[in-house]
Amino acid sequence: MYVEARAFKSVWRRKLRTLLVSFVLALCVAVLISTIAGVRASEESTKEMVAKAEANTADMVAKVQANAEEMVAGIQASTEEMVAGIEQGAEETIGQTEIMSRMIMVSSGFGPMRGGEGTNLMSEDVVDDIYSIEGVAAVLPSLTERVGASSDDPRDYDYAVNGVLLDSSLVEGYSVLPSNIIAGRQIEEGDGAAVLLSQDLISSGYFQVGVGDTITLEGSEFEVVGIFYSTQFGDEKTIYMSLENAQNLFGEAGEVSSLQVFAETKDVVNDVAEAIENLDSSWFVMTFEDMPMGRFGESIALTQEQQIATMQEQASQQIAALRDDVSNIESLGVQISLVAGIAGVLMIFGIMFYTVRERTREIGILKALGFSNPYVMERFMLEGSYIGFLGGLIGVALGAVTCSQLGPWLLNISETTSVTVEPYYVLIGLGGAVLCGALGSVYPAWRASRVSPMEALRHG
């Protein structure tokens, strides 16, 4: 115990030296603690950012999935209704299914019911070209224009005008017009400025009219001759009129947006479809067999999967970049800590080495008085450790102040993350400083223990 007290007294009595060394060592400890706390805070902040990125991705994926599911569900419901309608129609009208199975949809863009700005139109002359294909029984051109479209969402528009041929004799047993007339009558050839209005457009309040009333479309007036109940997907906001009226209304005379082509028999449908595709490869050609919603659903599912994959890849890249940042910060932290530790050890080494030289005579006296080599070594190592401990205490306090006051300034961390000095940082700081003191003193202390008392007293 006595050697500890002697070492402590020796350190205490050299106050200025002890304080100066301790203060410099304290800076090393403060750097060490601030680095550890800073790295930890950066890690926490990055984890928070990663969690947010993951949550955002999951949220976006969920939205995409929900959107796609909603669309698919709508399409399926419509398909089921259509199928039900077809089945019902089949019972009522023998041969209706057979007619549908001969149908080929041709449009200049994706989907036969789309029109409006940005959609390429086809010249009405193509009707004759298609008629020239072997096996074609009839061609029903139509012009569909969406009015009030405000975004890329195909469902987001005020209403659609569908101009069709009103001659129902072209395909026996089939009409392009809706069959569920709930008020008034079907629109017919020779009606002039007449329209068939979807009940949904009235029930939504967009048009507050009834049969016999007049509605104004794009500045032209039309008489409502009938109101139909929509049973097809996309038909709920449609106004039917003659093709000629639609072309005049939109200033697109001689142009159509889609065609319904009927083959003579079901067996030649695919040949006819192929021949139509050969006419213009940019057209969208779809047989009735292609129409079942599996295809469209698959397309949506594929698009959805691609979107999700892209989002997940982007999120993964972002998260990987953040994790890289953490790894880099950790690596930098280790380097700074090492430099601080080495600086501390070297400083103690230098001071203790100088101290040993300065106190050579004292060492000689101690050895002449009968103090052993291990005692001398232990005493100098203890002195180094005490200086280290004092430096550690000051450094921990300095580190705590630095972390709380300067941490948020110096580090790019989120507002919810704070730079705090955990209790075990204090232990690391103190332990590290004492270790620095002890390690830095090993060689000087060993040198001190090897001092010859005779030489020390003669030249010290």
Partner: protein, 226 residues
């Protein structure tokens, strides 16, 4: 029949300086009896300090033997020699060699660190020794706050701390004025009579040497009998 407290047999020490061998001490034979006050005189470079260092176990002889208090200390390894120095020898140096940042009493307590475990007893013994050299009122003073004579007296008290077999004094009056020096030597003389101490003193001052009971001379490393 009295047994010598210190005996040297053909004690020699050769130093190598710049490739040349310098014989600092040649075949010195010496016997010091218990309670004896012996002075070794000689001019500078005659080998006085070398002899003192050898018998004080601070240095190793090139040849010969040293028997201290019945123990042949010649071949004791350095790692164990510190015990001999602690228990058998008390040193008094020309420059006092007190530790500057310790008080007078702490300097005296220092050698007793291993022999007396109790701090209180150590302090009590140190006070007695300071009282013996007349410094009971100056125990809290640092060496720099004491006169040179007082510092040497603290050194004497420290030399007596562990009740050594022999006190070795190397030019103890060298840094003192003649009056103070003489008083110090007289004090050492009294120790041999009052405390039954053995004192071996090295000096080049004949007046100091004359106060010793026996005087030996060294010339060019050779010990001349009285």
């Amino acid at each position: 029949m009295k047994v010598p407290i210190l005996r040297t047999i053909d004690l020699s020490k050769t130093f190598e300086v710049g490739g040349h061998k310098v014989k600092a001490l040649q075949r010195a034979n010496l016997e010091v009896m218990p309670g004896e006050f012996i002075a070794i005189t000689g001019p500078s470079g005659s080998g006085k300090t070398t002899l003192l260092s050898l018998v004080g176990c601070l240095d190793k002889p090139t040849e010969g033997k040293i028997i201290l208090d019945g123990v042949d200390v010649t071949n004791i390894p350095e790692a164990s020699l510190y015990k001999i120095r602690r228990e058998k020898i008390g040193f008094i140096f020309q420059s006092f060699n007190l530790i500057e940042n310790l008080s007078a009493i702490e300097n005296v307590e220092l050698p007793m660190e291993f022999s007396i475990k109790s701090g209180k007893q150590r302090s009590k013994k140190a006070r007695e020794l300071l009282d013996l050299v007349g410094l009971q009122e100056r125990e809290k003073h640092r060496p720099s706050q004491l006169s040179v004579g007082e510092q040497q007296r603290v050194a004497i008290a420290r030399a007596l701390a562990n009740g050594p077999a022999i006190i070795l004094a190397d030019e103890p009056t060298g840094n003192l004025d003649s009056e103070t020096g003489l008083s110090i030597v007289k004090m050492l003389g009294r120790l041999t009579t009052d405390q039954k101490c053995t004192v071996m003193l090295v000096t080049h001052d004949p007046r100091v040497a004359s106060l010793a009971a026996r005087t030996l001379s060294l010339r060019d490393g050779e010990l001349l009998q009285e």
